[in-house]
């Protein structure tokens, strides 16, 4: 077995003990390890029963284990939302006397699933209905040949998603259906969460805790070490932070510059916000949540299309406001989703629209939705006499948008930097733009922007400053790596840093070029490879540069490098993944399966981390 060396300062063991244990573990087979862990817990149980004075906290689970069956909460998500809710659930479950524990699906052994009696799955979906990276293995396992019979398992599923995607909550649906198919018993109905999930998640936690308590009994005494309150910003939030999604900080924009040179087809903004008074703390790899405002022009246009008055009173998210205010500040008024059209169709009573929603017209509906916004539906299928209240009832709450933070708190505690691609295009005969990106790009001057930190535990620098890192961040995907390098510069970390960047044109799209050049000159940026796709006849992308550097890149991995990938999930991340598999296969002399195993193992060791969207 490979053992992470036990550090004296992170364990109660002295140096000699730590060394002996590490050495022993390295000689063990997995079966021996399992046996020893059982043996040790046996010893622990007997000491807890009175022979040695154990700390109170350690005693508690033992007491509870007598009271109730273990409740295993598994989470899998790209950004950490599922993890935050899973942690809240565990705390509430423990408070209710349940013997609950949370596990990252990445660290969970699929084979253990058959031993479980009670499982709760919190899982997000990304891309085209795919599981997030850390859920991939477990997801594949339950659908694979080795999937066990799960008779006697009681389960619940909480699914995270975004209704603007076609395969909304698909991974959650997969788990829900498959666990049942394998023999499990669904204890509560699956709940599918949209981007604005706070309240629904809270309600779900309550339901689930009640149900499992009813089912499993559990101790009467609340767990002594936790409070019944869920933490505001998720379990990972540092204690000092008081701002959250529900209680965002109002930040002022200090600087807004376009990073593209003249003549570029792209428009990417570098935005700096003042966080001096905020107390906000973040780590490289975290994201910034922004609660945007809809473009007043778009609001006006929509109200006109509805034939309503902006001054009409409606009951919005928190009481009575004008229609104009509700549409500008409270609701998502652009993105089309199937549920929205369904609700709209009920009121519209329009034959053509109903037809479009029928099961055999899914493709036609997808075609229609592509490149269209809510206003197009309003114009194409008008509802005679619709009221403002009728309309806002169809809408979902304006969700926050997340941007990878492009600066290090350690290096710049008073500012937070973002790299924002302004989304502007024309489709279906109308100019369109992204809500948050355009709010930031065009209307952020002198404005207060509601922001909060969205922590991402799955995209973090190695704790070891000597460890090398390889960063792959084409386009705006390079943002977190600017934070990584700022942080490593500030920490005087000695580990090597290698960055892959790509964009369309060297001359106009080389984001933060002067920063990289400075860091290369200072020796911080050990190596940088760039791919500018449209500067020559044959398109060149980061994955091509990765392939070309195969041997060196593999050597870096072998000497402990962590590989980070940030950016476009659809094409880029997949192509980079394939390139990595290829070079591992070639240089480790492995077949396809072997290479996949090698990369999977890197992922487990948190040495292959992705933040893709």
């Amino acid at each position: 077995m490979k053992a992470t060396p036990i550090q004296e300062h992170t364990s109660p063991l002295n140096a000699q003990q730590a060394q002996q244990l590490t050495a022993l573990i390295e000689t063990l087979t997995p079966m021996q390890v399992t046996w020893i862990s059982g043996y040790l817990s046996g010893i622990n149980a007997s000491t807890a029963s009175g022979e040695v004075a154990a700390p109170a906290q350690a005693a508690a689970p033992a007491t509870q284990s007598e009271a109730s069956e273990p409740l295993t909460i598994l989470f899998g998500s790209q950004t950490g939302n599922a993890e935050d809710i899973a942690e809240s659930l565990r705390e509430r479950a423990e408070a209710a006397g349940l013997n609950a524990s949370t596990h990252d699906m990445l660290d969970y052994k699929p084979k253990d699933l058959k031993k479980e009696k009670n499982v709760i799955v919190c899982v997000s979906t990304h891309g085209e209905g795919d599981p997030p990276d850390n859920a991939e293995e477990l997801h594949a396992f339950i659908f694979g040949k080795k999937a066990p019979k799960l008779d006697g398992l009681k389960f619940s599923v909480l699914a995270f998603g975004d209704t603007s995607y076609e395969h909304f909550c698909q991974t959650g649906k997969d788990f829900d259906a498959q666990l049942e198919k394998l023999g499990g018993k669904r204890l509560t109905d699956r709940v599918d969460l949209d981007v604005d999930f706070d309240e629904a998640a809270e309600a779900w936690i309550e339901t689930v805790v009640d149900k499992y308590k009813e089912e499993l009994g559990g101790g009467d005494q609340p767990h002594p070490t936790v409070t019944a309150m869920p933490t505001a910003g998720g379990a990972a939030a540092p204690a000092a932070e008081t701002y959250s999604r529900k209680n965002p900080y109002q930040a002022e924009v200090l600087e807004n510059v376009v990073l593209n040179g003249r003549g570029s087809d792209k428009e990417v903004h570098h935005i700096e916000m003042d966080t001096e008074e905020s107390g906000l703390v973040w780590e490289p790899g975290d994201s910034l949540g922004i609660i945007p405002e809809n473009d007043p022009a778009v609001v006006e246009e929509l109200i006109a299309a509805l034939g309503l008055s902006p001054e009409e009173k409606v009951t919005g998210i928190d009481g009575e406001v004008t229609l104009q205010h509700a549409l500008a500040h409270q609701y998502e008024i652009t993105t089309l989703t199937r549920p929205l059209i369904e609700k709209y169709a009920v009121q519209a009573q329009n034959e053509a629209l109903d037809k479009l929603l029928s099961e055999d017209q899914r493709e036609a509906l997808a075609d229609y939705m592509h490149g269209r916004f809510i206003i197009d539906v309003v114009e194409d299928y008008p509802i005679e006499g619709i009221t403002g209240q009728d309309f806002v009832r169809l809408l979902r709450k304006l969700p926050p948008r997340l941007y990878s933070i492009a600066s290090s708190h350690a290096a710049n505690p008073d500012e937070i930097h973002l790299t924002v691609a302004a989304v502007r295009y024309e489709s279906a005969g109308r100019p369109r733009h992204g809500v948050a990106s355009i709010h930031l790009s065009d209307r952020s001057e002198d404005a207060q922007l509601p922001i909060y930190i969205d922590h991402n535990k799955n995209f973090k620098l190695p704790e070891n400053d000597d460890a090398p890192i390889i960063m792959v961040g084409p386009g705006t995907g390079v943002a977190p790596f600017r934070a990584f390098l700022e942080e490593r510069e500030e920490r005087e970390a000695s580990g090597d840093n290698w960055l892959f960047f790509g964009a369309q044109h060297f001359l106009t799209d080389f984001y933060y070029q002067t920063d990289w050049l400075r860091w290369r000159k200072d020796g911080l940026l050990t190596r940088m490879d760039v791919a500018f796709s449209r500067d020559q006849e044959e398109k060149v992308y980061v994955q091509d540069k990765i392939r070309a550097a195969g041997k060196e890149l593999f050597d870096w991995i072998e000497r402990g490098a962590t590989v980070y990938v940030c950016g476009d999930a659809n094409a880029m991340a997949h192509d980079v993944h394939e390139a990595l598999l290829e070079l591992i296969g070639e240089h480790a002399n492995l077949d396809a399966e072997g290479a996949a195993g090698y990369l999977k193992n890197l992922q487990k060791e948190k040495r292959y981390q992705r933040d893709v969207y």
């Binding site: 593209n260 040179g261 003249r262 060297f506 002067t514 920063d515």
Partner: protein, 583 residues
């Protein structure tokens, strides 16, 4: 002598460069920057190119966290400015493929590309090489492009002089294989050696021009070595040799000055190449390598005296020059339009404003508005079409004009048709004044520019045209030269009216150069803007219109009228400046 003085930084770069290689190859391979290493920027001049950046974009790109828009100015080596139609077409094609889609004719009879990106340097030089053109020594501390009178009145003689320009150019070309290795990607071949230059080349640039009197279109006296072709009975019998010309100076530094070459004697064709080589070697051994502002041959000569040069020639190589022969120059401009040569072929000189070859759109813009010209003038296309049908050669002139040379009588009509169709200027499209005006490149690409030049002179000329018209002398040629800095690319100190940039919108005004290029001008007013320029020039031009003698050039008149003192020698350039009443 500079032996005991500290060498200038550029000397150290040359010494360490291993025959001009430096780290140029590494710099070309670096994809993170459009620039090359700073030290290498000194070396690449020897390969014909300068690193520059678009100064119009400098500040906005810095704001966008982008490095400056680095690009290169690349100058070809083209002895006597002669190219075939095939070469013209290739040179034009490369401008579109690898540069900014325009061509700049220089005042040393060659083509200059602007806006060449680093990654395009190699392919450009390789493609040019395919048609027998290179850029070796077009810049750098070596002999530069060798000029020769372009006027083809005497075509047999022109060919002979052209052969001389090639012979000198080849003889003095640097020999290191670095050019072939780095840019043509040929394999290394044995050891390098530089028989004439040695490892450190020359202390500074070196310029040679050959003039055939009475034409001084090459401004022969502005060169380190000027050769005056002596013709007797229609036969070239040898050359008068003049040495120590050069324009460059530094504002506010009176130890620097422009100087015209001094005629030191006559050499027969058999002795000319040897004499030229020995003069180059004298400069190699005695030029100042500690101070680049004092490193041109002109300072070596003035520091030691002309007598010392004669001693050196004799001591080192046993060369004794004969007394100089009689010669007479009439002008340094180009006569435009058609002339018939002695072999019955025809030659057409076309005016190219600022030497900028481009297609201008309906608003008069080219290259995204970076250049301005007559609205709708498709100059580049017109010349390309001419190159497609022309069976003779093209000759670039020292006044950045173009001669379509050796047009057979039966082809003349076809050429005329294209000239007419594209509205090319064979002498009747612009005023005499504009035809006599010349500007350097300056903003936005030249790193040395302090003020606009190419982009400004045309509109200033329009305003001066009005003055000369009002003064009743609109057909009188007056040589106007403008540069954005005092380094002299458009030979501003040989302008009857000279403008040298000091700051954006501000120029030093010089008056009184010789119409035939044999006398320097002198500073008349310092650091003035357009309004003052026009206010100063108006009364002088009016007075010239009223009081000039028959055939008296403007530059002679301002001296005779006491408006400006005569500059008799470069050393005295800074004396008696300004107008007498102002002094």
């Amino acid at each position: 002598m500079s032996d005991d003085k500290e060498l200038s930084p550029v000397e150290h770069i040359k010494i360490a460069s291993n025959y001009l290689r430096g780290t140029i190859a590494d710099g070309l391979a670096d994809e993170l920057t459009g620039s090359i290493a700073e030290d290498d920027t000194q070396l690449t001049k020897f390969y014909g190119f300068y690193q520059q950046d678009d100064r119009d974009l400098r500040s906005e790109r810095k704001h966008s966290k982008l490095e400056p828009h680095f690009q290169f100015m690349l100058r070809l080596r083209l002895p006597a400015g002669v190219v075939t139609g095939e070469q013209w077409l290739k040179i034009d094609e490369l401008a579109h493929r690898y540069a900014n889609g325009t061509l700049r004719l220089t005042t040393r009879q060659t083509f200059q590309y602007h806006g060449v990106l680093k990654k395009h340097l190699r392919p450009l030089l390789q493609d040019a090489y395919q048609v027998g053109v290179d850029a070796r020594g077009a810049c750098g501390d070596v002999n530069r492009n060798v000029m020769a009178t372009a006027n083809p009145d005497l075509s047999a003689l022109h060919r002979e002089v052209h052969d001389w320009s090639i012979k000198i150019s080849e003889h003095l070309a640097w020999k290191s294989r670095a050019y072939e290795e780095i840019f043509l990607q040929q394999k290394p071949q044995g050891e390098d050696h530089e028989p004439i230059y040695g490892k450190t080349y020359l202390p500074r640039k070196f310029k040679i021009a050959i003039a055939i009197p009475p034409e001084n279109d090459v401004d022969m006296f502005a060169n380190d070595i000027g050769l005056i072709a002596i013709v007797e009975d229609d036969k070239l019998v040898g050359f008068n040799i003049a040495i120590g010309g050069g324009m460059g100076s530094t504002h506010g530094d009176e130890a620097t000055y422009p100087r015209l070459a001094s005629v030191i004697g006559f050499a027969t064709p058999e002795n000319t190449l040897e004499a030229v080589e020995e003069l180059v070697k004298i400069q190699r051994d005695h030029g100042d390598r500690s101070n680049r502002k004092h490193a041109r041959f002109k300072y070596t000569i003035d520091d030691h005296g002309l007598g010392w040069i004669h001693e050196q020639l004799e001591e080192r190589a046993g060369i004794k020059l004969k007394p100089a022969r009689e010669y007479n120059f009439e002008r340094n401009g180009d006569p435009l339009g058609w002339v018939e040569g002695d072999n019955g072929n025809w030659h057409l000189t076309l005016f190219i404003e600022n030497g900028r070859i481009a297609d201008f759109d309906d608003n008069g813009n080219a290259h995204y508005g970076q250049y301005h010209g007559p609205a709708g003038l498709k100059l580049m296309t017109g010349l390309r079409e001419l190159a497609k049908i022309h069976t003779g050669e093209f000759r670039l002139t020292g006044n950045h004009n173009v001669i379509v040379a050796n047009v057979k009588p039966e082809d003349k009509a076809k050429v005329e048709e294209l000239v007419e169709h594209y509205g090319l200027d064979d002498g009747d499209k612009h005023s005499t004044l504009r035809h006599s005006a010349m500007a350097c490149v300056a903003f936005p690409t030249c790193g040395l520019a302090m003020a606009e030049s190419e982009r400004y002179l045309p509109e200033l000329v329009t305003k001066i045209e009005k003055i000369v018209t009002d003064a009743g002398i609109k057909d009188q040629p007056i040589v106007i030269r403008m540069t954005g800095c005092p380094n002299g690319c458009a030979r501003p100190f040989l302008g009857e009216i000279g403008f040298v940039g000091k700051a954006p919108g501000k120029y030093n005004l010089y008056l009184g150069a010789g119409y035939n290029g044999e006398r320097l001008n002198k500073l008349y007013r310092e650091n003035i803007g357009e309004e003052e320029i026009l206010a100063e020039l108006t009364p002088i031009i009016e007075q010239y219109g009223a009081e000039r003698n028959e055939g008296e050039p403007f530059g002679d008149f301002v001296i005779r009228a006491g408006i400006i003192a005569e500059t008799t020698e470069g050393r005295f350039f800074h004396e008696n400046v300004g107008s007498p009443e102002a002094a």
